[in-house]
Every structure is written in structure tokens, then in C-alpha cells.
């Protein structure tokens, strides 16, 4: 009845499977390969500056394109301080929102709040910067900084003329931009806390807040730290909004009212004007450092988060 050889692979219908799998694999492999390629390309392009300035690049404050002397210390300072300031504001706020979303919010309100928080993350950087220039900066200059000065002016942090433009405003803007990441990831890891943990505390007669503090937060801790690192990486690399409000002056000042400069901002502002090869290489060198730092921080963040909230893959299987 059956024709001999009909199940045998003469002109196999399956021959497409191996090449197809290979194609998919190559596409998936593209991502790690691109990251590697970015590293190689930036190192190559930065090499004149790397050879010329070496490690001294990070500890010198001279930024003199005319004399071709480049040191990024003020930019590193500006990047780190503005990011730290942002986290100082965004972490408590973000955790508050996450607790609200994970433990408290009435069901009907969760979706809209989550949506709005996501929307905040989706607003383009340049739009936030635009709002920063025309709305936030004047408010900081006329209201916030005078207020801080009159109350906390004895601290060097809050001294000097209120300019509006400067480190403080950059920190505020960055806080608004990174807080959605803290909220999203923290809410996710808090929701991943097993029911039993929560019920254990509740059964002892703990209130919502006590349960959150004693059962939920400790369990979700490494994930929350991951969320903070994730936000840190965003803050370190944020470019447009910061460059629009930070003042772009490479200086190290104690006062948060003073203008400053960040690595992404200097690349954004000066790259197209960089005339000499060494100038371009120095900017790429700065970008290379930014790349390495953000990749490391992101990788750390992902490892921490995946420890708490295992990917959907593992949960569903």
C-alpha cells in the first residue's frame, strides 16, 4: 500500500529547519555582538586620546581644546553628583509609589497610575528639557533656590546666587526621568514576593505597613537595589534634558546652585564642533568611559533583579 521511501528524506521538506534556526540564532546573537562592536569601535576611535592622556584623563580638570589638553574630572564630577542628587530624590519617591502600587492601590486605580508612570518614561528627553528650560528653571530660580537659601543657606550646598540653571535643576529633572524605572522594577519585584511571606506577617496581626517593612521589603531587597542601579545607569547617560538645564560649565563647585557639566552633555554640545582629531578622540574616550560604566551598572542591576523576579520564562514553564 505505501510507496517505499515516502517517509525518507529525498528532497526533504525539513531542510529549511537548520538554516532557519541558524538565521534566528544569528539575529539573537546580533545583540551581544553589537555591544562588543561598540566597545571595539569606541576604543579604536578613542585611541589617540587614550595614548596621549591615559588614566590622567580622569583626574585632570583642564578642558582646553585650543591647547589640546583634555581632562574630564569636572564632567565626571557633574555626572556623578547630578545622578546622585537624582537618586536621592527619586529613590524614596519611587519606592513610595511602588509600595502604593504593590500593596495599597485599589484595583481600578492601578492600571491608570501604572500607565501614567510609564508615560512619564515615554516622554522624549528633549521635551522634558524644553519644559525644564521654560518652566522648571524659572521656578527654581525664583522660588526653590531662594527658599533653600533662606532656610539652609548656611550650608555650602545652598550658597551662591540663585541662577535656576545648574546642578540642582539637573538633579530634579533627572529624578523625574529615572523615577519611572524605579517604580516599574520595584513594583514588579514586590509583586513577586510569595503570597506566603505576606500572609505569614498578616496572620501575626501585622498591619499593611508592618507587613511591607518586615516581609515584603527585605524579600525584595536585592531587586530594589537592582532597580536603583538601573535608574543610576539611566541618570548617568541621560543627555538632552540635562544639557538643557545644567548650564554646561566644566567646574567643580560645592554649591548645587552653580552650573556644572556632564559627560553626555559635553559630547552632545562639542562633538560637532570638535575640529582636531585629538579633540574628537577625547570626546569619544569620554563616551567610552560612559559606555563601560553604564554597561557594568546595567549588568549588575539585571543580575540583582533577576535574583528576585525570575523572568517570565521560568515562572511559566
Amino acid at each position: 500500500m505505501s510507496v517505499a521511501g515516502r517517509v525518507a528524506a529525498g528532497s526533504s521538506a525539513r531542510t529549511g529547519d537548520r538554516p532557519f534556526q541558524l538565521l534566528l540564532a544569528v539575529m539573537a546573537a546580533a545583540v551581544p555582538l553589537i555591544i562588543g562592536a561598540v566597545l571595539v569601535a569606541l576604543i579604536a576611535a578613542a585611541s589617540p586620546a587614550i595614548q596621549r592622556f591615559g588614566v590622567g584623563f580622569f583626574v585632570t580638570s583642564t578642558w582646553d581644546p585650543v591647547a589640546e589638553e583634555f581632562g574630564v574630572l569636572p564632567f565626571i564630577y557633574g555626572t556623578l553628583v547630578s545622578s546622585a542628587l537624582a537618586l536621592l530624590i527619586a529613590v524614596p519617591l519611587g519606592l513610595g509609589v511602588a509600595i502604593f502600587l504593590a500593596e495599597l492601590v485599589p484595583g481600578w486605580l492601578r492600571a491608570p497610575i501604572t500607565f501614567f508612570v510609564e508615560l512619564l518614561a515615554a516622554i522624549p528627553s528633549v521635551v522634558i528639557g524644553l519644559w525644564g528650560i521654560f518652566v522648571l528653571v524659572p521656578w527654581v530660580r525664583t522660588t526653590l533656590e531662594p527658599l533653600l537659601k533662606s532656610t539652609l543657606g548656611f550650608l555650602p550646598l545652598f550658597s551662591g546666587p540663585p541662577l535656576g540653571i545648574g546642578m540642582l535643576t539637573a538633579g530634579l529633572i533627572l529624578a523625574a526621568m529615572v523615577v519611572p524605572f524605579i517604580v516599574a522594577v520595584s513594583t514588579e519585584v514586590m509583586r513577586a514576593v510569595p503570597r506566603a511571606q505576606r500572609e505569614g506577617a498578616l496572620a501575626l496581626g501585622a498591619t499593611m505597613w508592618e507587613t511591607t517593612r518586615t516581609a515584603v521589603l527585605p524579600y525584595a531587597r536585592s531587586g530594589i537595589i537592582g532597580a536603583i542601579f538601573l535608574a543610576l545607569a539611566r541618570a548617568l547617560g541621560e543627555t538632552m534634558a540635562v544639557t538643557m538645564v545644567i548650564g554646561n560649565v566644566p567646574q567643580i563647585k560645592a554649591s548645587l546652585f552653580a552650573p556644572a557639566y556632564t559627560i553626555p552633555a559635553v559630547i552632545a554640545n562639542e562633538f560637532t564642533e570638535a575640529t582636531s582629531d585629538l579633540y574628537v578622540a577625547a570626546l569619544i574616550y569620554a563616551g567610552l568611559v560612559l559606555f563601560i560604566v553604564t554597561v557594568a551598572v546595567n549588568a549588575l542591576a539585571r543580575l540583582l533583579v533577576s535574583r528576585v523576579a525570575r523572568g517570565p520564562a521560568q515562572i511559566r514553564e
Binding site: S2, R6, A8, A9, A13
Partner: protein
């Protein structure tokens, strides 16, 4: 671990399993099944859940190996050919051995028509006339044509559960398989729909070989010509359905069909 091979069955060979073993990772799910499924008959495979009956079915059309970490050894002859031969292509095997699943699984984004035509069109059949003709034939063979002929372009998922299962049968028939494997095809259906599937299985056996896995002994008794009883990955007893249910030769078979365990 002695497996009794059934007495020689007086029919031409449909499928012949020879010492089939199957594993899920380390779990030894089938332990040397040898069984001859006669052509153009309904053969039922019964047994308690976890006995390996579905695994056996999936070994016949090489679906078992799609599960990660799953392995098979032994031979399954389809006619004269071993479907596990080095040169055998599982894709071609599955075109000759169709399958219907426990839960109806029409393609959710396709219309009724496209569901039935899928096996042809996805294999590259371009002759629309021919496809149309086969779709109608298949739907008629699956006793669904009259119910759906006016809404062929509605989604397959718009049908009732029983209709969806018959749609899946039509889909399987459209590639004109020689064997149809049915894995508890009625377990999710109401009694009326179940009856229709059973009638269908009997009717289809005029043309093709049917293997039906079921946990429902009455169903096996109603629908099949031969029945095999599986327990713990072994074929305990196999023979004409009537004999197996009225005078089982193995104690364990008797225990099972009289409801003493399982």
C-alpha cells in the same frame, strides 16, 4: 517485565511498533512496546493516566521527540518503512500520520476554511480549485460541512467545542493521511459531541487506520475493533476489543476494566 504480544492478527499491517522505548529526560515512560495496529480498523489504547498511552501515540508520528530532553528508541513501521530510520524525515512521517489532540486546537488567527486548507497551503499547494475541493471533501468527511458551509470565512475559534474538534479532524484529513491518531479527542466534549466524534472515527476507518487513545473504557468498547491496555509504560494486553473486555487474559487488565484501580 514480560510483555505478551497479542496473537497474530489477521489483517494487513498498518503500523507495527517494535520494542519502542521512550524517555522524558530520565523518566522511562515507555518500556519496550511491541504492537501491531491493523490497517483500516479502529484501535483503541486504554490505561490509567500516566501509563504512557499518549506518549506511545506521539511516538508513532514522531511528535514525542519535539519535547526537549525527550528520547525514543526502537522501530515504528509504517507499512514497510521504519519512521525512525536514519533517512526518514519526521515532516514526511507526519504528513502520512495525522493527529487530533485532546483539546481542539484550531489556528486562532485563521478562518474555518484556512484552518482546513492549512496543511495544503503551508506545504505550498497553489492550485486554489484543488484546495477548495479538498477543503469541502475534508469538511464533509468530518461531518462538519453542512454546519459551516455558509460561514467558511469566520474564525475557526468561533465554532463550538465539538465543532472545533471536528474542524481539527477535517484539517488532519485534508492532507490525506493513511493513519489518524486521536489523543483523547472527546475528553473535553459533551456527550452529544462525543458521540459524533465516535461515529466519525468508525466511519473514517473505512478508509484509513485509526488509533484512538482514551481513558474512557466504554468509548473504547463502542468505537474500536482492537484494544491495547497500557500500564506503567508497558503494553499489558492487546487483542480484539470484544475479547479484551469480556475475557481478559491478564489479571491487571481485568482489574482495570472492572474498575478495581485507575
Amino acid at each position: 517485565m514480560q510483555t505478551r504480544t497479542p496473537a497474530l492478527i489477521d489483517h494487513t499491517t498498518g503500523i507495527q511498533a517494535q520494542d519502542v522505548h521512550a524517555w522524558f529526560d530520565r523518566l522511562h515512560a515507555l518500556r519496550g512496546i511491541s504492537m501491531t495496529v491493523p490497517e483500516r480498523k479502529v484501535t483503541a489504547v486504554i490505561g490509567p493516566s500516566g501509563c504512557g498511552k499518549s506518549t506511545f501515540l506521539r511516538c508513532i508520528n514522531r511528535m514525542h521527540e519535539l519535547v526537549p530532553e525527550a528520547r525514543v528508541s526502537g522501530r515504528v513501521l509504517l507499512g514497510q518503512e521504519n519512521v525512525y530510520d536514519e533517512a526518514a524525515d519526521p515532516v514526511l512521517v507526519r504528513r502520512r500520520i495525522g493527529m487530533v489532540f485532546q483539546k481542539a486546537n484550531p489556528f486562532p488567527t485563521m478562518s474555518i476554511y484556512n484552518n482546513v486548507a492549512a496543511g495544503l497551503t503551508l506545504a505550498g499547494e497553489r492550485d486554489r480549485r484543488k484546495v477548495e475541493q479538498i477543503v469541502e471533501q475534508s469538511l464533509r468527511a468530518a461531518a462538519l460541512w453542512d454546519e459551516v458551509k455558509d460561514r467558511l470565512h469566520k474564525p475557526g475559534t468561533s465554532l463550538s467545542g465539538g465543532q472545533q474538534q471536528r474542524l481539527c479532524i477535517a484539517r488532519a484529513l485534508a492532507v490525506s493521511p493513511e493513519v489518524l491518531l486521536m489523543d483523547e479527542p472527546a475528553s473535553a466534549l459533551d456527550p452529544a459531541s462525543t458521540l459524533r466524534i465516535e461515529e466519525l472515527a468508525r466511519e473514517l476507518a473505512n478508509d484509513i487506520t485509526i488509533v484512538i487513545v482514551t481513558h474512557n473504557m466504554q468509548q473504547a468498547a463502542r468505537v474500536s475493533d482492537f484494544t491495547g491496555f497500557f500500564l506503567d509504560g508497558e503494553l499489558i494486553e492487546y487483542g480484539p476489543t470484544n475479547d479484551l473486555f469480556t475475557k481478559p487474559r491478564d489479571r491487571r487488565t481485568e482489574d482495570y476494566i472492572t474498575g478495581r484501580f485507575g
